[in-house]
Each structure stands twice: as structure tokens, then as C-alpha cells.
């Protein structure tokens, strides 16, 4: 073994891994010192020095599935747009129809390039009109792509009518996730969280300071993502800790999102995968909107069918399919694993992989090549894990 291991399997996108030699150049979130206090194991991730685990990935994972965990996701990119006709201006950049969004609602979507490839995935939070009549939209994007997205948006928005603010470094962002997350967080905020719908958001006092709360997440559980000033982040973290919310790192975040079959940018989706190939058909609204970047490619794919699809794989044995392992059909390479792990909830290995469309049917038998040997696998329904519905 070669250890301490540096870049872990789940951050193996070569474009975004910073080698340990560059670690002095890594950014730190407002909660960095709290992670050190907890003796978290730190790792470079997308240019940030982040906690990969606190008490242990399986324990953190279980806490989120059973009760409540919290993640420092302050490294994510945070943009605020103000101006007029904001949704109309964003409309040509994404395949989703944003116009039906009401103030307080949000849409998960993707920025597309002209080839229909995914520039990034993001959430568009429509905050409605401000007192002076302009509109406000917040965008939360991936950490690794913050600069790329900013450049992309500045190139494609009409800056005469839109003011673009990058507040990424000014704010702390904490995800509080799990079946008990809403009730616990409620004790620290003024808004009635129970009345906020899934993908809804609200601005209210958090520990008597201004906060932005959205009922979104990346774990497959109920919960909120809470944005506060960097200086308030530490107090919020400590308050949540005293309520029994377990600190969780990027390791558990990855196993949780993978069980929920949520795509990881740079791994499952990238500039050369389209949303139709990635199984994100539900956010492609060809019939509800006019032209947008990449539309021609998506129309063609919709008409002729995609040649490959991102599918869920289940391994019947103990061997774990990992990122970049080949997928075989009767011994012939046909595809590639994009994400894979032992599923802590299900107790067996799961993976996402691109395979040719004729081999993408549920139940299709395939193999994954692991250290030179083929192991059986089968295409299964996504997501691998679905929580019991919460009631509103």
C-alpha cells in the first residue's frame, strides 16, 4: 500500500485534482478551523482544502439517512444576478423552461454548450422582484467550475441590464440533511420551514443574522442548504452541533449522492455528455421553449435516440466497480464506469456507467473489468436508494 493516500477515487477527475505539493495554494472555507477542531481528515478538492471525513464515512452516511448530518459546502460557487428579465436572459443558456418559476421557487438545470454538452449543473433560485422593481436570481454552481461558469455567464448575459455579483467567498454554505434536519434547523431560524416546498427557498433570520435557506440537497434526503455571511457560518455550525447534527465530510456526501444517483460534475457529466445521455431528460423541455444553446443536438438525439446512456449498475459479488473501470459485454469493452462505491445503505457495490443504448435496459447483464478480470453486473433502476416520501 502507498499511504497516506492523497487524491481519493472520488476526486479522480484529473482536471480538478490539486497535488499535495500545491497544498499551500489551496483555499480554505470559513469553517476550515472547525474541521481541524473536529480532527477531520482533510483532502484537496477542486482547489480547496476540505474535510473528507470526520467520524467515518459509514457513520456519517448513516446519520444522514437516519437522523441529520451537516456538510460544509462553502466551496461551491455562489452568484447573484440583479436586473430585468433575468429568467428570459438565462433561458437561452439552459434546456429547462425557467419562465414558470415563481418567486421562492428553484430549478435544477444545466448550462449547455453549442454541442449540447454540459458546461456545469446548477440550481437557479428565482427570488422575484426587489423593492426597486428589479429582479433577483441566485445561482449555486460547482466549486471546480466556479471560474469557468462565471466567464461563461459574463460572456452570454447582457451586462447592460444584468448586474453580476460573485459572492462565493463572502458566504458560508452549510447543507443540513436527513429526516430530522428540518425540525432541528427550525430551532435556529425565524421562517416556518415546514411551509417551504421541495426546491423552495426563503430569506429569514438565522441566529438573528440574515440568511438564505433552500430546501435542496445532494443526499437523497430532506433538508436545507443554508447560506449566511462567512462570519456567521461558525456560529451556525456550532449551534447545529449542539443540536446533535453530525458533521459530515465529502466522502459521505459522495456515497449519499451516488445512492440517490445524482450526477457529479466532472465525473458522470461533463462538456462532452448531453443531458439526454446522462438521463437528465426531466430537465430538457424542448416543447416548452424556443431556441437555446445546444438545442439542435438535443432535438436530433431525441428524434434518433442517444447512442449511449448513463445507467445504474449493481454488482452481485463483493468486488467494487470504480471510476474509469471498463464495462464489458461478453468480454468486449463497451462502456466506462463514471462513479462507483460500496453502498453503505444497501450493503452491495453500486455504480454509474455509460453504456451503448441497446445495452441500457433494466436487467441487462454486463461485466465490469476490475484489475484485469471481468466481474458480472446488471443494469438496475436509478436511483439505487429512494427515501420514504415526506409529507408537506
Amino acid at each position: 500500500m502507498v499511504m497516506p493516500y492523497a487524491p481519493l477515487t472520488f476526486i479522480c477527475n484529473p482536471d480538478i485534482v490539486i497535488t499535495p505539493a500545491d497544498s499551500t495554494a489551496l483555499s480554505r472555507t470559513p469553517l476550515y478551523h472547525l474541521a481541524l477542531e473536529h480532527k477531520a481528515r482533510m483532502t484537496p478538492f477542486s482547489g480547496w482544502e476540505m474535510a473528507v471525513q470526520f467520524s467515518g464515512i459509514s457513520q456519517e452516511h448513516q446519520a444522514v439517512r437516519d437522523r441529520a448530518g451537516m456538510f460544509d459546502i462553502s466551496h461551491m460557487g455562489k452568484f447573484v444576478l440583479t436586473g430585468v428579465n433575468l429568467l428570459e436572459q438565462l433561458q437561452p443558456l439552459v434546456p429547462s423552461n425557467l419562465l414558470p418559476l415563481q418567486a421562492g421557487e428553484a430549478q435544477y438545470t444545466v448550462l449547455l454548450n453549442s454541442q449540447g454538452g454540459i458546461v456545469d449543473d446548477l440550481i437557479v433560485y428565482y427570488q422575484g422582484h426587489t423593492v426597486n422593481g428589479t429582479q433577483r436570481v441566485s445561482l449555486i454552481v460547482n466549486a471546480a467550475t466556479t471560474l469557468k461558469d462565471k466567464t461563461w455567464l459574463l460572456d452570454h448575459l447582457d451586462l447592460a441590464t444584468v448586474e453580476f455579483q460573485d459572492i462565493s467567498l463572502e458566504k458560508a454554505l452549510i447543507a443540513v440533511q436527513g429526516p430530522a434536519a428540518v425540525d432541528l434547523l427550525q430551532q435556529l431560524v425565524t421562517a416556518d420551514l415546514g411551509s417551504v416546498k421541495r426546491f423552495g427557498h426563503v430569506e429569514c433570520s438565522v441566529l438573528e443574522q440574515p440568511g438564505f435557506l433552500a430546501r435542496t440537497g445532494y443526499t437523497g434526503e430532506d433538508g436545507f442548504e443554508v447560506m449566511v455571511d462567512a462570519s456567521v457560518g461558525q456560529d451556525l455550525w456550532r449551534s447545529l452541533l449542539s443540536l446533535g447534527v453530525l458533521p459530515c465530510g465529502l466522502g459521505a456526501r459522495d456515497t449519499l449522492r451516488l445512492e440517490a444517483a445524482m450526477a457529479l460534475y466532472g465525473q458522470d457529466i461533463n462538456d462532452s455528455t448531453t443531458p439526454l445521455e446522462a438521463g437528465l431528460n426531466w430537465l430538457v423541455h424542448l416543447d416548452q421553449k424556443g431556441d437555446f444553446m445546444g438545442r439542435a443536438v438535443l432535438e436530433q438525439q431525441k428524434q434518433n435516440g442517444v447512442s449511449r446512456r448513463l445507467v445504474g449498475l449493481q454488482m452481485p459479488g463483493r468486488n467494487i466497480a470504480r471510476h474509469d473501470y471498463p464495462v464489458l459485454h461478453n468480454g468486449t469493452p463497451v462502456g466506462i464506469v463514471t462513479s462507483g462505491t460500496q453502498s453503505p445503505t444497501l450493503g452491495y457495490p453500486i455504480a454509474l456507467a455509460y453504456v451503448p443504448t441497446p445495452l441500457a435496459k433494466i436487467g441487462q447483464a454486463l461485466e465490469v473489468e476490475i484489475r484485469g478480470k471481468p466481474y458480472p453486473t446488471a443494469v438496475v433502476k436509478r436511483p439505487f436508494y429512494k427515501r420514504a416520501q415526506y409529507t408537506l
Binding site: 500500500m1 502507498v2 499511504m3 481519493l8 481528515r41 459509514s58 460500496q342 453503505p344
Partner: protein, 129 residues
């Protein structure tokens, strides 16, 4: 964090240990390695009867997030492997030097261990003291 590194074992900088009793070597991984890996979920070991060459990869240990090769600290023939551990690799967390041994090898050359570290040397390496 401090772990136990028994004095009667020899260690590699790649974190495998060897317990030599006559010409039989018991091989496993150190408590430090187990801690670094985190929750261990998978172990692959060679079949009994396999000939191992010092320095070659003889197996794999995986945690939820990491995959690590296991390196043979000594040449010889595999005379036994821990079948129970293959079924329950998470047991590595409890007793890496005892119940959670990996292989027993009939060694071909005890000089293979000349460069292996003592417990004191290994502790200094992993604890940076």
C-alpha cells in the same frame, strides 16, 4: 493519534507487517493503515498454493473511498489465507495483528526481511517523530 505496533513484528513503509515464526511468515496490515483507509469493505487475497515474489502485488484492500494494493514483504508459498477475513474485511478495524491476519507464507529466504523496519522505526515513520 497513536496506535499499537507490536515489537515482535517487522514492517514495510507500504504498511504491511510480517510476523516470522520459524520459516512461517504471517502477513497483514498495520493499525495505522487500517485507520488511514477508513471503513474497509473489500479484501482480495491470493489462493493457497500461490508463489509470491517479494515486492509483488498480492492483493487489494478497499475502503468505501480508497483502493490500495497489498505488497508482498517476503517471497514464499501461500500456505493459508484468512477466509473469515475475506468474508468480513471490516474486522481489520478490530484486531489487525491477531484475528485479522491475511496470509501465512512458507518463506524461501529470511534475508528478505533485512531491510524491513522494526516497530520503533515504523512508529517514527508514521507518527513523524
Amino acid at each position: 493519534m497513536s496506535f499499537d505496533y507490536p515489537d515482535n513484528l517487522r514492517y514495510l513503509d507500504s504498511h504491511e507487517y510480517v510476523r516470522l515464526e520459524g520459516d512461517i511468515a504471517t502477513i497483514g496490515i498495520s493499525a495505522f493503515a487500517v485507520d488511514q483507509l477508513g471503513d474497509i469493505v473489500f479484501l482480495e487475497l491470493p489462493e493457497t498454493g500461490t508463489d509470491l515474489e517479494k515486492g509483488e502485488t498480492f492483493g487489494t484492500v478497499e475502503s468505501v473511498k480508497a483502493v490500495e494494493d497489498l505488497k508482498a514483504p517476503i517471497s514464499g508459498n501461500v500456505i493459508d489465507r484468512n477466509e473469515r477475513l475475506l468474508e468480513a474485511p471490516e474486522e481489520l478495524a478490530n484486531d489487525p495483528y491477531g484475528e485479522a491476519w491475511m496470509l501465512k507464507i512458507h518463506i524461501s529466504n529470511p534475508n528478505d526481511l533485512n531491510e524491513a523496519m522494526t516497530a520503533e522505526e515504523y512508529r517514527a515513520l508514521v507518527e513523524g517523530t
